[in-house]
């Protein structure tokens, strides 16, 4: 579904209906911020650099929503599970003494088996409880994050860069990636003009993964996945093994989340442990919804548009608001906009499924 073609075809009302009022408001709000930014004295190139940077950090995490939405498993509120696999990869890669770019590659390699196993278990569970995926996914995420809180304390990590200095054991809440994979992707082919900067490498990495997902969705298995999501009864009648396809989609989502958090960390510069992954699903969920996805429909375009809009608002609101009224309401605006978007999507009737 391309929203642009619809826009030309229909009348304004129809456009609003197809595009969704909240989405329209959010887009308008971001445009307003962009217009206001130079007027109130914020440096536009810096702002745009920030948006692009944050897009590059978060893109893969949002992309992780796509497979599960396609197979009808709903929005992946269980994203933290994948993030935990990524964190395990990251910390183990450092623990085993890898440094520089190699530590990033190793982190991905180590995270992968965790993501596959946890994803498979998670997928198996979601197959048992079809129809109640989202709520259970949320709580699977919460339980796993709080379980890992204990694990980060107990697991025998030794690297002095990661454990608490005094006790000599237990991982710190934030671990600096200096000397490891900070900016590994962003540094690659970085373009810099004055205040303006593009982390080409990270964008290319995201593009690669996005392309792979896009290509996958056009293979036989990929179309089967879409069929399962849009009409499971029909898919079953066509001889597709619904459970297997759903399992595959969950594993893919979990793996993408693991990679996603590693990409996020290389841009952010720190590994955040303990409660940090707790609510990480919500920004990703609202981003893809803002981009035009619904509970059972999502495309790569939705991911890109959504991440830009969401991160745009997150980065622009504080600066513009502070310059304008000296009142930082950005946090509140972000909460209302993103949660409102999720609420809106949940109240839409889903076609086909169930």
């Amino acid at each position: 579904m391309n929203t642009d073609t619809k826009k030309e075809k229909g009348a304004f009302g129809k456009f609003v209906e197809s595009f969704g009022l909240p989405r329209l408001l959010i887009t308008a709000f971001l445009l307003l911020l962009l217009i206001l930014a130079p007027i109130v004295g914020a440096d536009l190139p810096t702002q745009i650099t920030n948006i692009i940077a944050r897009f590059s950090w978060n893109g893969v995490l949002v992309l992780a929503m796509v497979p599960m939405v396609h197979s009808g498993c709903g929005l992946n509120f269980g994203l933290p599970l994948g993030i935990i696999s990524g964190l395990l990869g990251a910390t183990m890669s450092i623990e085993f003494g890898f440094t520089g770019a190699l530590s990033f590659v190793m982190a991905i390699l180590i995270a992968t088996p965790f993501a596959l196993v946890l994803g498979a278990l998670y997928g198996w569970l979601l197959n048992k409880i079809k129809g109640g995926e989202m709520m259970i996914a949320t709580y699977v995420g919460f339980s796993s994050v709080s379980l890992m809180c204990m694990m980060w304390l107990v697991l025998p990590y030794k690297s002095p860069n990661m454990v608490w200095g005094m006790a000599g054991k237990g991982l710190r809440t934030t671990i600096s990636l200096e000397g490891y994979y900070i900016d590994v992707l962003a540094k690659f082919l970085r373009i810099k003009i004055g205040n303006f900067e593009i982390p080409t490498g990270t964008l290319l990495f995201f593009a690669l993964l996005a392309f792979l997902i896009w290509a996958f969705l056009h293979t036989k298995t990929g179309t089967a996945m879409t069929a399962v999501g849009s009409n499971p009864t029909f898919a079953r009648a066509a001889g597709i093994n619904v459970d297997k396809i759903r399992l595959l989609s969950v594993v893919m989502s979990t793996w993408l989340a693991a990679i996603g958090i590693l990409v996020y960390e290389q841009g952010f510069g720190f590994i955040q442990l303990y409660m940090a992954p707790f609510y990480m699903a919500l920004p990703a969920v609202s981003a893809i919804l803002i981009g035009g996805a619904s509970v059972n429909k999502a495309s790569i375009t939705n991911v890109i548009i959504g991440t830009i809009l969401f991160q745009g608002i997150v980065t622009m609101t504080p600066t513009v608001m502070n310059n304008m009224v000296h009142m930082d309401m950005s946090e509140v605006i972000r909460i209302i906009a993103s949660q409102g978007m999720i609420l809106y999507a949940l109240t839409r009737k889903t076609e086909g499924s169930k």
């Binding site: 709080s146 955040q272 940090a276 509140v332 909460i335 993103s338």
Partner: protein, 156 residues
């Protein structure tokens, strides 16, 4: 017919609730009372402070006030009752005295000058509003409970 009766009942119920709220606002208004045992001069009259006054509110001692001391009590509603045990001179005998006052609704804190009150001075002499001194303080950081990072604990 039925619907109008229903409406009427609802209106009465709402009115009753509002009435209860108003009643609560009257009887539940909290005031902080400060008692001063200090000499005071007003309208050409001088009220000497006794050696010591012991203040009881609801049978509970609010402290022994020597000359120049200030005591404090919290009270609810506009009728304030206290019992004073006055010792005029050192080693002199205690004299008891029950006092009840009307407190103005809009004052949070009221200073009562006991010597003036005991000396039978008019209200505006013994009673004055307590105005807390403005304290310069650093801006407080507000930690918002957002949907991002949060410790899900804190039942304590």
């Amino acid at each position: 017919m039925k619907s109008t009766r229903r409406l009427l009942i609802r209106l009465i119920a709402i009115a009753a609730v509002i009435a209860i709220a108003a009643w609560m606002m009257v009887i539940g208004r909290g005031h902080t009372i400060y008692f001063d045992n200090k000499p005071i001069e007003a309208n050409g009259e001088k009220y000497e402070a006794p050696y010591q006054i012991q203040v009881y509110v609801d049978d509970e001692s609010m402290g022994k006030l020597k000359e120049g001391d200030r005591g404090m009590a919290t009270t609810m509603g506009q009728d304030f009752k206290m019992v004073l045990h006055i010792t005029p001179e050192k080693d002199a005998k205690k004299v008891g005295s029950a006092v009840s006052l009307k407190i103005p609704y809009n004052m949070d804190g009221i200073v009562i000058n006991l010597p003036a009150l005991l000396g039978g001075a008019p209200e505006e002499v013994y009673q004055s509003e307590f105005i807390p001194t403005e304290v310069e303080e650093p801006e407080e950081e507000v930690d918002i409970s957002s949907d991002e990072f949060e410790m899900p604990m804190g039942d304590e």
